[in-house]
Symmetry: C2
Subunit: 353 residues, 2 copies
């Protein structure tokens, strides 16, 4: 086990444990990304796969927003499609276009052919990047690892590319539910191994992104998404706190709280803080949920809405974040307004400290 | 006033009034569309604008699914972007691509320049198509007119094209709320005139499609969408029953029921029938909500889920439909399975009649 620097700022971990805090921790989904000029510079020099697969580059990119904004957490720079890659998907990416999978799942036989790979070996570069980053962070921020949820990864593996409705992936699941269950289970088992390896390499919390769970009806969510999110959260609970983010699945907040061992739930911006708190009985840490599009608007609006968001969620059991990833066209100063507003919360003149 | 054929089948209108029925009426959003071979034939001969702007063609296309499936309602073949066209947007459409607007709204000044046009004159072809269709239907099915909701139309008018998140349109509204309010009001006023003209021309009910309301936070929905949906529903209530369909805005069902004069609310497939009934106190007609992707799966699944859907919504105050429009790649027999299941509901052996 590597010796890591002592934690000087454990605000995120305290919030995940439900401990007392004077302000909520803050980070942003996709905070290491295209809205940062220093990221665009590296993007001009190295291909996407070079950036993801070179531990030093991934660590450097992860650190970029930390140096600029000092948030309370870093999320490792990587991509959810590395797990399909480890499973045998041939992923290509034209810059500016979405990813493509050249050998998508075309039949039940295809799906039944997948098996759990030696993910620690195949994705060793992610673990190396985590270890490098954990050291570079020097205890100033917590390090978050992540993976895509089985449902979301199946969507890409079957559809072969991004889609508005992932109709082909859904039709596959409805027509071949047993083959779909096999593939989802293989992805879930792979993800458990992968996230445990991430924790061993230095990740202090992990987030599972179900970016497309909101395309499912509540009944289908219970078949194709929930069981695998639960397996992952329950399997990891002894290793590190788990954040489950099921975008668009407002109807699932109650079950994700009641029936999994997740430490926190991500909330998108279509859910009010009041609804999210009530659905989860105020018994779990919630993370979110400013509309990312708000960062395209004026900074006075960002400051006002961010403060109001904290008031509505409450300071405890809360992680300030966006409701989804920051988009490429956000001015850096607007992102800064969001970070600064959370970090200054409760310390201004006239505030209760 | 034109003399129209006597109604032999007023099931939809009865359901909209909350009357007694032995089975729910059924129609499908986008039922006149690309999954039909006879539609594809006309699509090969005439451009999109020829199909929309030639009353005989629009009426013929509207009638195609009626002849095939005998649903209880026809929805006029048209496009929500005809209202932006009437307002001065230059809409182009490459077949297979989404629509583009060549002169999108770029500034607050642009937005403030819009004014209510003579929509009856500009869109006379829609009214002519409605009159032709109402006669052709011969009372066998009710005729539904429609329009896009002001928020959804603003999205296209500002963004200039389809988008995953309509970030540019949202940023415009956050940065220029007064100019946005002006444009939304102009669209709403235009839409009221347009829908009243549709009713005068033969539409027996009208539906307002807010396809992108689900991109808004509940707070922003209350600013940029709800007030205009309410204005339209309230202004039309004396003319014809109004169906409000705010896709993705599960949080708004209660307010749309309590605070507007809508006769029915559309429900997408991410909302359970139980939630929708509870949120609206079982006091309004609901329409929906089979996941359109289910029509890509096997027909036994379609039959089972459609029957279950009716059981869960209940027969009264209910219009069987999909949760969104039917997609181009659906086999015709699968669409038929949906229509037939609803039409045979309650008449099979062993059923309670």
């Amino acid at each position: 086990m590597t010796d890591f620097p002592e934690m000087k700022n454990d605000l995120l971990l305290r919030a995940l444990r439900g401990g007392e805090v004077t302000r909520p921790p803050v980070w942003m989904m996709r905070q290491a990304g295209r809205y940062l000029p220093e990221y665009m510079e590296l993007r001009g020099k190295y291909s996407f796969f070079e950036r993801v697969e070179t531990p030093e580059l991934a660590a450097e990119i992860t650190m970029q927003p930390i140096r600029r904004f000092s948030p309370d957490a870093a999320i490792i720079f990587s991509d959810i499609l590395v797990v399909p890659q480890a499973l045998g998907s041939h992923v290509t990416l034209e810059e500016g276009e979405g990813p493509r999978i050249l050998n998508p799942v075309r039949s039940a036989e295809d799906a039944l052919g997948y098996a759990v790979p030696d993910v620690e070996d195949r994705l060793h570069y992610v673990m190396e990047a985590l270890t490098l980053t954990r050291k570079a962070l020097y205890g100033q921020a917590s390090l978050i690892g992540f993976a895509g949820a089985p449902w979301t990864l199946l969507c890409y593996m079957v559809e072969g590319r991004g889609s508005k409705d992932f109709g082909k992936a859904k039709a596959f699941c409805y027509s071949h539910p047993e083959a779909a269950a096999h593939l989802l289970q293989v992805i879930a088992d792979t993800t458990v191994r992968y996230l445990k390896a991430q924790v061993a390499a230095g990740a202090q919390a992990v987030q599972v992104f179900d970016s497309w769970s909101g395309l499912l009806s509540p009944e289908d969510f219970n078949v194709f998404s929930f069981p695998y999110l639960k397996q992952i959260a329950d399997a990891l609970a002894g290793d590190a706190p788990v954040i489950l983010y099921a975008k668009g699945s407002w109807y699932a907040l109650e079950a994700l709280k009641q029936r999994t061992k997740a430490s926190a739930l991500g909330v998108d911006w279509t859910v009010t803080p009041e609804y999210a708190r009530e659905a989860t009985r105020n018994e779990i840490t919630l993370q979110g949920n400013l509309d990312p599009s708000r960062l395209l608007g004026p900074t006075d609006g960002i400051v006002k809405l961010t403060r109001r968001m904290i008031e509505r969620f409450g300071v405890r059991r809360y992680i300030a974040n966006l409701g989804h990833g920051i988009t490429p066209n956000v001015p850096v100063d607007n992102a800064r307004a969001f970070f600064d507003t959370v970090k200054e919360y409760g310390t201004g003149p006239g505030s209760i400290v």
